[in-house]
């Protein structure tokens, strides 16, 4: 589900539940947050996320945890209390010695694993939905990105038969051109998807089509990968600039079809 490794997620949640139940100490919570997040990134996903990305998240988390722990004199005192007791009380002497040996051991192991780790290709972040331009010119026709809508969408209510024709034409366009990458069922998992990086957009995803205005989708279809700003790493995208191959009507029709197929509505004007 959502690309998550369920057993790992459940175990992590269970440990969290245990901490709640036992009213765990602040320090235990801080450790749980850090180690749990690390474990989640490392083992929680079916397809592991790049280590560089995980490292950035973990660094932010450490900062947040430190900020939380030191946000008040009392909280700070409470957080470090168990550490102080470990160091000062003679009955914890054995545990302290163990810790003094274990932590350098861990650091040594980490350094060793780092040095002998199989190499990864460098990974770079990219904007999934890069900011669109204010105006879009396709086939000599300029539209205002903020206000433009799919010109055939209103037929859904005004003229269902005509709407159906546009959807059917969009279906033709989609299965003549798009499904190799975006998939028969539009899960972004077409037969060529495994060879592409970034992977093709998943139109089943509630975070994609319903979150976008149809003008945004029109922009992405018409201008494709090459029309993206640098933040979207246009050089990696296999998305063609469809204005070179399709008529404006065909592009709006396929736009209509992918919404219709998934049962989604474009994000309306001014809706957030």
């Amino acid at each position: 589900m959502w690309g998550l490794n369920l057993p790992v997620v459940l175990v992590l949640a269970a440990i969290g539940g245990l901490l709640v139940w036992r009213r765990a100490h602040t320090l235990a919570w801080l450790l749980y947050s850090l180690v749990g997040l690390w474990a989640f990134f490392k083992f929680g996903f079916v397809v592991p996320i790049p280590q560089s990305v995980a490292t950035i998240y973990l660094a932010i988390t450490v900062l947040a945890l430190v900020a939380y722990a030191s946000s008040g004199r009392e909280r700070l005192a409470e957080t470090v209390q168990p550490i102080k007791r470990l160091i000062l009380e003679p009955r914890h002497r054995l545990a302290l010695a163990g810790l003094l040996v274990a932590l350098p051991g861990l650091a040594a192991y980490n350094a060793y694993a780092d040095l002998t780790m199989p190499l990864e290709a460098p990974g770079f972040g990219r904007e999934i939905h890069p900011p669109p331009p204010n105006e879009l010119t396709v086939h000599d026709e300029t539209i205002d990105m903020a206000t433009a809508e799919n010109p055939y969408l209103h037929y859904k209510h005004d003229d269902p038969e005509l709407y159906g024709k546009h959807v059917e034409n969009g279906r033709r366009v989609y299965y003549e051109n798009c499904f190799w990458c975006h998939g028969d069922g539009m899960g972004g998992d077409g037969m060529f998807a495994h060879g592409l990086n970034p992977v093709p957009s998943n139109f089943n995803d509630v975070g994609t089509l319903p979150a976008l205005q149809s003008s945004f989708v029109h922009w992405r279809i018409a201008k494709g990968g090459p029309g993206m700003p640098a933040g979207g790493t246009p050089w990696d995208s296999a998305m063609p600039a469809w204005e070179k191959f399709l008529t404006t009507e065909e592009m709006w029709d396929v736009n209509l079809f992918i919404y219709d197929f998934n049962g989604y509505e474009p994000r309306a004007l001014g809706q957030h």
């Binding site: 770079f124 069922g185 990968g225």
Partner: protein, 592 residues
């Protein structure tokens, strides 16, 4: 009547006919579902299946001209993947299996989003397209699939003997790479070209990669294709040995695609002419497999590329770097022409392959004909008469001549490595040239080898419409074709004034293109990859002990410091409190 309405009428007629039949007495196996179930199936079918299999089930959907293998024509009642004997109908479970998991490396995906009931309904609906399913005589019990034998050396050796005796190599090739002499001529009963399975790449088996899958395939045959059933000609045990042999030809169920070539350092000189030493050098370098897909972004759209992956490795010494790439191709096309900028149409309407064969298979009524018994004689004129125009600047007349068919080699096999012309600036390390032949601002260099000549040509490309031959970089290459596998080894000096240099510990973007002349791939019609990386591993092996000890020591020092500070502070506090208490006592004393 609109097409839509016509379809609806046809479907209604089919449903009515099927409904009538349900009322007839049926054998135990005829189960066509209820009208309601078929109607439910139609809804699922129209949404998810009709675009390829056709809204009337005839295998003629929107996508059909652009996919290979062709979508199943449900009106024939012929199905490839069955547990039932050759020529009989599949069971519902057979149909369910393909619907749920799909057929890998074809345009048939799995449909895990459908519920079990939806799948059953769509099975009933699909069966209603062919009257074969109404005929009890066409059904048969599934075959027994015994537990696989252990893959012992003896079993595999016996399997090899069976492989030879049964003539498997005629299509699948001597070592199973799908390169047998008949491979280029094969078509199914509709006249569409059939790609022979590459037995060394289990993940591409249409019917599945397990030993049970393999046993099933040659015990039941693939109806409608040249793959026969060996149920009658081979004992169960021999089939099991054959399974073990076929299984031994590949080393993994998964392709294990990678993202990085690690170039390994060597002191030795790299001599392309000294094959043995070169092989030994490459032995030390890890091999990475990269996925290839069709170029469908620009004109020359290649919807069904022949080659689906390429393996690559690299070595380097003080001055030079060498790359070796390897891929499987059903035959060596070494007589035609090819180069990265050869003109191509938007896409080949008739892809050309199997063209001749399609003509003489006009009557495709004989679905159950014995394809396996008599193989079509292999074309002995592979390098036929198309070699007249190697240097011509043609390219306008792709559809004109007939020799583009199965025997022709109008276009040669080719391969290219692609590197950025220069590395990304440090402030924008993610910047790369457009992966499709570069762009105006960020050109790429192509190390192109036309396998007709077997030498490397270099091109500087600023996009598919701006590709120029260069001579600035001298790239050498040697090529070989052995039993269905092309191997191309490149060499260049590591540093270059005109192109990218390969410094130690550097990640250099690299991408691949492969052209199969047989599939009429040329110019921008090619199989290609995304950007991946080459990493030039440090020449001096990094010491491990030093950094490990240092890490441990630093942590230990920090720990001891913390313990020391905390304890000192505690002692001070205690001392302060004592003093305070003492002074308190002192000051209070007089008052008492």
């Amino acid at each position: 009547m609109t097409a839509h309405a016509r379809r609806r009428t046809q479907a209604a007629a089919t449903l009515a006919a099927a409904a009538l039949l349900v009322a007839l007495p049926t054998s135990g196996q005829v189960d066509l579902g209820t009208e309601e179930q078929r109607a439910g199936g139609k809804i699922v079918y129209d949404k998810y299946c009709g675009q390829c299999h056709g809204d009337t089930g005839d295998g003629n959907g929107y996508a059909t001209p652009r996919v290979q293998p062709k979508p199943r024509d449900f009106t024939t009642g012929t199905y490839k993947f069955r547990t039932t004997p050759n020529g009989t109908l599949p069971t519902d479970d057979d149909l369910r299996r393909i619907i749920e998991i799909g057929a890998p490396y074809t345009s048939m995906p799995g449909w895990p989003n459908l519920t079990s009931a939806e799948v059953q309904n769509v099975i009933y609906y699909i069966k209603s397209f062919s009257s074969a399913f109404e005929n009890p005589d066409r059904y048969a019990e599934p075959i027994d699939i015994p537990r696989p034998l252990e893959s012992t050396e003896e079993s595999i050796a016996r399997g090899r003997v069976v492989y030879e005796e049964q003539g498997c190599a005629a299509c699948h090739g001597e070592v199973g790479r799908g390169d047998g002499p008949s491979a280029p001529t094969l078509v199914n009963d509709k006249g569409d070209p059939i790609k022979v399975a590459d037995l060394t790449q289990r993940w591409t088996y249409r019917g599945g990669p397990t030993k049970e899958d393999i046993y099933r395939t040659f015990s039941t045959g693939l109806n409608g294709t040249p793959m026969p059933s060996y149920a009658d000609s081979l004992e169960v045990e021999d089939r099991q040995h054959l399974v073990n042999y076929v299984h031994s030809l590949g080393d993994a169920d998964d392709p294990n695609y990678g993202t990085l070539i690690t170039a390994v350092y060597s002191e030795e000189p790299i001599d392309l002419q000294d094959g043995e030493t070169l092989d030994a050098l490459f032995e030390s370098a890890p091999m990475t497999r990269f996925p290839l897909v069709g170029q469908i972004t620009e004109p020359g759209r290649n919807f069904f590329p022949s080659v689906t992956s390429i393996e690559a490795q690299a070595i380097y010494n003080r001055d030079e770097i060498a790359f070796r790439v390897r891929w499987h191709d059903l035959r060596a096309d070494t007589s035609g022409r090819n180069n990265p900028s050869l003109e191509v149409p938007m896409w080949d309407e008739d892809n050309g392959i199997g063209g001749d064969a399609a003509d003489d298979s006009g009557d495709s009524d004989d679905f159950f004909g014995d394809f396996g018994g008599e193989e079509a004689p292999p074309e002995d004129d592979f390098f036929g008469d198309s070699g007249d125009d190697f240097f011509g600047d043609g390219g306008d007349d792709f559809f004109g001549t007939a020799d583009a068919g199965a025997g022709g080699a109008e276009f040669s096999d080719a391969v290219a490595l692609q590197f950025p012309a220069s590395l990304a600036p440090e402030e924008t390390p993610e910047l790369k040239p457009y992966f499709l032949y570069g762009d105006a601002q960020n050109p790429v260099d192509l190390w192109f080898v036309n396998l007709t000549y077997g030498v490397a040509d270099t091109f500087r490309s600023r996009g598919s419409d701006s590709i120029e031959a260069t001579e600035a970089d001298i790239v050498e290459a040697v090529t070989s074709y052995d039993q269905g596998a092309w191997t191309v080894t490149y060499k260049r000096r590591r540093s270059s004034r005109a192109g990218v240099s390969f410094a130690e510990e550097q990640y250099t973007p690299v991408a691949f293109s492969v052209w199969d002349g047989f599939n009429r791939e040329r110019g921008n019609k090619r199989a290609l990859s995304s950007w991946f990386y080459v990493y030039t591993e440090p020449s001096v092996e990094q010491a491990v002990a030093g950094p490990v000890l240092r890490a441990a020591l630093i942590v230990l020092v920090v720990e001891l410091l913390v313990v020391f500070l905390v304890r000192r502070r505690a002692r001070q506090q205690a001392a302060d409190e004592e003093t305070a208490a003492a002074s308190l006592t002192a000051t209070e004393a007089p008052a008492v």
